[in-house]
């Protein structure tokens, strides 16, 4: 073989290697925007937060993520606002939009991965696998998914144990604005977490979150009231809550059983849900006086 052809082959090989390297670079997104609190948590759980450059308003955990620019509410994203942070990949929870914005982003050749929102253990595992695939972290995501699935079934098993054959009826109250109780019905995140923690949702008459008639709340007769923790003086707020005419006759008010948990932790359906189940289960069935 002549020196020339050897040089030629070496050079071609070098060129191919460089191009391949370049292609891999182009395929691995390094400027990622996440939309949806649980999606962002999964990115952190996979230790890929260095690739995050912006997040939506609902992504507030862990604390460091709030230092990133906020591109607005998940369903009202602005096309130029999102493009201004120069993302190469957007990982968004199902329902992010509006569709016009998503179309523009796709036409700008920004990668877009939609993550389904399902309020169950399987739903969380699916989220982790999809986010992991989008991040090119298949094996790590598989390990995380396995661990989260194990944690979830352990937490659920422990929760079932704690129930001891006497499940409690739980009323999730989203808000009490203007004296109206907005409660969580079927097919809501609240319904999912209550069932996983071994409780019974006191409300089965409707889907999602709706304001309830006072008498219907009384008839539902919850043993426990579950609410989101918004900070502030809980003692006074709880007292006021239990003075509401609709709640006074309920076992929950009689026994003063009000459980408050961080909203994203409780309803996020992400990697921390196992700990939310344990926390809720302990609050429902733990040592009481």
């Amino acid at each position: 073989m002549s020196t020339f052809s050897r040089l030629y082959i070496t050079l071609s090989l070098l060129l191919v290697t460089m191009m391949a390297g370049h292609m891999v670079m182009a395929q691995t997104p390094s400027r990622i925007v996440t939309v949806g609190g649980s999606v962002t948590e999964i990115v952190y759980a996979l230790d890929q937060q260095d690739r995050l450059i912006a997040r939506d308003t609902t992504s507030s955990y862990p604390d460091q993520v709030t230092e990133l620019p906020d591109i607005g509410y998940a369903r009202a994203l602005s096309p130029e606002g999102v493009l201004s942070v120069a993302p190469d990949l957007i990982i968004a929870i199902e329902g992010a939009g509006p569709p016009e914005t998503i179309d523009v982003l796709k036409s700008a050749q920004v990668g877009y991965v939609s993550v389904p929102e399902i309020y169950s253990a399987d739903g969380i595992v699916t989220k982790i696998r999809i986010v992991g695939a989008a991040l090119d972290q298949g094996p790590a995501a598989e390990a995380l998914a396995q661990q989260v699935a194990d944690d979830l079934s352990a937490a659920q098993a422990a929760a079932v144990q704690a129930v001891g054959g006497h499940p409690k009826k739980v009323l999730f109250i989203l808000s009490t604005q203007g004296g109206r109780i907005m409660a969580g019905g079927r097919n809501s995140a609240a319904d999912g977490i209550i069932r996983m923690a071994g409780g019974i949702n006191a409300i089965t008459a409707f889907d999602g979150y709706k304001p309830m008639a006072d008498e219907a709340v009384t008839v539902a007769a919850p043993d426990v009231i579950l609410m989101m923790d918004r900070g502030g003086d809980h003692g006074a707020a709880t007292k006021e809550l239990l003075m509401m005419p609709a709640l006074i006759p309920t076992p929950a008010a009689q026994n003063g059983k009000v459980v408050r948990m961080n909203g994203l932790h409780l309803l996020g359906f992400g990697p921390r849900t196992a700990s939310a189940i344990t926390e809720l289960s302990q609050a429902l069935y733990g040592e009481t006086h």
Binding site: E80, G81, L83, V85, P99, V104, S107
Partner: protein, 358 residues
């Protein structure tokens, strides 16, 4: 009631006012041109209009990102802003002239209530439509519904208020209130049925935005709005005459019923299209005509074109604020126009109170 649009010669010699108004038209055209350029140049991303123009002049290819930001985001948004702003302001001016009421806005002929109800219906119940229809309308189910909803309710109101070929403006006003209440109640039922994410969509729709501007929306709204605006110059003389009252206007040879029909049609078309593509944007229709009446008087010959120019300019300015103030997120433009518009409106009120000795 007729004070706000009082007799054209109340304050200054008419010639003087006419010259003033013409100068204002020139000034407003320039202002709109400058605002348009800034609207193209200003946005959350780093894309620079000047850089892109230099590239184009030098014959260089624009980057894909610059091309999308300029031609698929900012330019349709600019066009939509001009169309919607002009529609809302001119519609407001026409309505105030027709109803001889300084507080009149397109809401009075039911177009906003109908459009709102139809939009809410589309948001909440859209998923129940047969797949074939959803396929056909795609992302545009809400704007299409809003447009036809606005039209439908205006037609109902017009039929209610018209007897023996005569439309009673007073009946229309009262029936409009009743229809508005009914639409509000039906919307309430749908709001109750809506799930969380639909509720957020409803809230954002009600606050209005130009963020969803696409060429498809511009193409759909342009012919309707331009046709409606093109009719309005022919209404100017009639609306001036109506300031004297319907009977007097009839006596000086104005065909009052024709003016009413044309005004209602034009406003329903322009507002219906504007609301459909941008949601609920308040205050432009009230503030702009009043500012202009203060500046150059109530003559509709100059008021209507100037309202189109100033309305477009103000909406573009409000949109620029909406899209950069909390970038990379974005404020709904209805918030900006209300925050800017409400104090201006109060100021007009205070000024008028002095002038009227109330």
């Amino acid at each position: 009631m007729s004070l706000a649009v009082g007799a054209p010669s109340a304050h200054a010699p008419p010639m003087d006012r006419r010259v003033q108004a013409r100068r204002l038209t020139v000034a407003l055209s320039l202002l709109l041109a400058v605002t348009s350029v800034f609207s193209l140049a200003w946005g959350a991303s780093g894309t620079s209009l000047w850089g892109a123009m230099a590239d184009l002049i030098a014959g260089r290819e624009l980057s894909r990102l610059d091309r999308i930001v300029l031609f698929d985001i900012r330019l349709p948004r600019l066009c939509l802003g001009i169309l919607v702003g002009a529609s809302l302001a001119v519609s407001g001016a026409v309505m105030q002239g027709l109803f001889r009421n300084p507080l009149a806005d397109p809401g009075l002929i039911g177009v906003s209530a109908g459009a709102g109800l139809a939009a809410i219906t589309a948001i909440v119940l859209g998923a129940m439509l047969p797949p074939a229809i959803r396929e056909l309308t795609g992302n545009y189910l809400v704007p299409i519904s809003a447009f036809f909803g606005g039209w439908g309710s205006t037609l109902v109101l017009y039929r209610v208020a018209t007897r023996h070929g005569q439309t009673s403006v007073a009946t229309m006003l009262l029936a409009g209130i009743a229809l508005g209440a009914l639409a509000g109640a039906l919307s309430g039922i749908l709001v109750y049925m809506a799930d969380d994410s639909q509720l957020r969509d409803l809230t954002f729709w009600g606050m209005g935005s130009l963020a969803g501007a696409t060429w498809a929306k511009v193409m759909a709204a342009t012919p309707i709005i331009l046709a409606a605006l093109a009719v309005t110059p022919f209404l100017a003389r009639g609306l001036n005459g109506l300031a004297l009252g319907e009977a007097a206007a009839g006596h000086i040879g104005i065909s009052v019923q024709l003016i009413k029909n044309t005004s209602i049609l034009a406003v329903a078309a322009a507002t219906g299209a504007a609301v459909a593509v941008s949601g609920g944007i308040g205050f432009i229709g009230i503030v702009v005509p009043h500012l202009l009446r203060l500046a150059t008087g109530p003559d509709h010959h100059s008021l209507l074109p100037n309202a189109a120019l100033l309305g477009a300019t103000l909406l573009l300015a409000a949109d620029m604020i909406a899209r950069v103030i909390i970038a990379p997120a974005e404020l709904p433009i209805g918030i900006v126009t209300a925050v800017l518009g409400a104090p201006v409106f109060l100021w007009i009120l205070l000024k008028r109170r002095g002038a009227l000795g109330l």
